[in-house]
């Protein structure tokens, strides 16, 4: 898949424009606060129907406008597969979101997710490493929702049941009422836990490899630190059993605190540096450069995961990511991108010198006050 056309209507400061994309992608050059990140945000909106910067939909509607609309035309790289048109619109007043694929509204929003197959690399990604465990769970949830059938349904069900169960704990309902939620919690929770564990097991080598290649040989690792003890629990049934046991053990504590204290909502993903026999936790002790490297490696793993589980060459969106790396690192990142990410690239940078990817061959577009000149 590659993005061949993009239609923007009142998305943030981008106004209304119809753009055609070359197959290799583009480099968008512009000063700060002209709309470079907004541009990538609009494109990525077609992947998850949410802002990758965590903004609410209301905030994405341009000033003096009632609604925004983004429409993307995707061309299959395989000529015979034709095109697919994904559109998303949001109306400020009615708070209504409308999504369509080839003009038809899907029954559920989830059915339209991931059509674009894109990965965003942004300077904000360091928060994946330095932020709380919630950031890393969210990363996993997005990647898995887009690549594993059934994951989105399982995590949504888990969250809903957790909410219900926590209210019954908080309001001091008798154990028989709290326990009514257990089997649903265990079933959806075991499915989420298994998917997360399997994904990290499968991808930890790639993370180590990418980190080493960017940092010139430093060894790092990603480890799943689940809230449930999974020793000996290989299958989903085994995990479910471990969950049931853990709920029994924590029953008294959860009554006291009025909330469920075990389960995938308490999972952590550890990012560590191998430091001559000992390990160093990147979240707490990593330097700025190390954290940026780990975040970038995570995004590269995400792209690899799209290639392998969704069989698509992802569209790479680079939001001014080379600016903050020292020259050695950014040289190596560039090299890595050239070999691994052979698909379409949309890159933003404040100055031309920062555009060297794809042998400096990307057509230059310029953006001024939200208006793109091709």
């Amino acid at each position: 898949m590659r993005l061949s056309g993009l239609t923007l209507r009142h998305f943030r400061n981008l106004g209304s424009q119809d753009l055609e994309f070359p197959p290799e992608g583009i480099a968008l050059i512009g000063d700060n606060a002209q709309g470079k990140s907004n541009f990538l945000e609009a494109i990525y909106y077609l992947e998850t129907f949410r802002s990758f910067r965590g903004a609410r939909d209301e905030q994405l509607v341009g000033f003096n406008s009632e609604l925004f609309r983004v429409t993307g035309t995707m061309q299959a790289t395989d000529e015979e597969c034709g095109t697919e048109v994904v559109a998303a619109a949001f109306e400020r007043n009615g708070k209504r979101k409308k999504v369509s694929v080839n003009g038809e509204e899907p029954e559920r929003l989830g059915d339209a997710l991931g059509r674009l197959a894109a990965v965003v690399f942004s300077p904000r990604d360091t928060q994946l490493v330095s932020g709380g465990p919630k950031k890393r769970r969210r990363f996993l949830d997005i990647v898995l929702s887009l690549s594993q059938p059934g994951y989105l349904a399982a995590i949504q069900e888990y969250r809903r049941i957790l909410q219900q169960r926590n209210v019954s704990l908080k309001t001091g309902q008798p154990p028989s009422v709290v326990m009514a939620w257990d089997s649903g919690l265990i079933k959806s929770g075991a499915s989420v836990t298994r998917a997360r564990r399997d994904w990290i097991d499968l991808r930890c080598e790639a993370f180590r490899d990418y980190y080493a290649r960017i940092s010139d040989g430093v060894s790092a690792r990603i480890t799943y630190a689940p809230s449930l003890s999974l020793t000996g629990a290989a299958s989903e049934g085994g995990i479910a059993e471990a969950f049931r046991d853990a709920l029994a053990v924590t029953a008294e504590r959860e009554r006291r605190v009025g909330a469920t204290v075990v389960g995938p909502h308490r999972d952590e993903v550890q990012l560590q540096l191998d430091n001559g026999g000992s390990t160093l936790d990147l979240r707490q002790y990593g330097s700025g450069g190390q954290r940026r490297t780990a975040a970038l490696a995570l995004r590269l793993v995400e792209a690899k995961s799209i290639r392998e589980s969704r069989r698509k060459q992802p569209l790479i969106l680079l939001d001014d990511v080379f600016a903050e790396f020292d020259s050695g690192r950014s040289e190596r990142v560039l090299e890595l991108m050239e070999t691994e990410e052979t698909g379409q690239v949309v890159l933003t940078a404040p100055r031309e010198e920062h555009v060297r990817i794809h042998s400096d061959s990307l057509p230059r577009w310029r953006i001024t006050a939200g208006v793109v000149a091709t």
């Binding site: 029954e107 219900q164 209210v167 028989s176 009422v177 009514a180 089997s183």
Partner: protein
């Protein structure tokens, strides 16, 4: 406020009816015969006066006992438990069920402040207990939602010690369903609940 506005407002509170449809209905009533409109309003008034929950099962009823509970031909050894009274009709229309019903009046949902006490659960347990073994099976036909499932689990734990068999409606492929168009979650459930062919 004019009568027209008032009626439009009242009608638009009904499910599936917005202000535009409500106004269209009001116009229709104004143009139609006065007799028809009076009969409609009388019938609606009667609904409020006559319909009450059945003393035994909670189903809609015009008498103390609903039509199902008062029918001597019904099988009294089975109770089918549903969330809402209108779901009794859904099961009745199949013509396949000859037992009794029990209407809970909702489902467990702590988020909405609904616990066992807010539902017609004691009535059900009492019925099972008082039947002294006559009720051999309780079918839990609560919805296949997260809340409906929790309600079923709760009831299962309460009913089983009292003796009867507790069963749950099967889940899976709808009749005439085409695999291509059924969501993955439903297919997964249908796979998990597959049965031996007995043709």
């Amino acid at each position: 406020m004019s009568v027209i506005d008032q009626l439009t407002g009242e009608l638009s509170r009904l499910p599936g009816i917005g202000p535009k449809t409500a106004l269209r209905l009001v116009h229709y009533l104004m143009k139609g015969s006065k007799g028809d409109t009076r009969r409609l309003s009388r019938t609606i008034a009667q609904l409020a006066e006559r319909i009450r929950p059945c003393r035994v099962c909670g189903n809609f009823s015009e008498d103390e006992l609903c039509q199902v509970c008062s029918d001597p031909r019904r099988d009294r050894s089975t109770i089918c438990v549903v969330e809402e009274a209108y779901e009794v009709g859904s099961i009745e229309r199949t013509g396949q069920y000859r037992g009794l019903f029990h209407v809970l009046g909702g489902r467990l949902s702590p988020l909405d402040g609904v616990g066992p006490a807010e539902l017609n659960m004691d009535g059900l347990l009492e019925r099972v207990q008082r039947s002294s073994g006559e009720i051999g099976e309780v079918i839990l036909a609560t919805n296949a939602s997260v809340e409906g499932e929790a309600t079923a689990v709760y009831l299962e734990h309460e009913i089983r010690p009292l003796g009867p068999r507790v069963t749950r409606l099967a889940r899976g492929i709808p009749v005439g369903g085409d695999l291509e168009y059924i969501d993955g979650n439903t297919i997964a459930q249908a796979l998990a609940g597959r049965r031996e062919m007995e043709s």
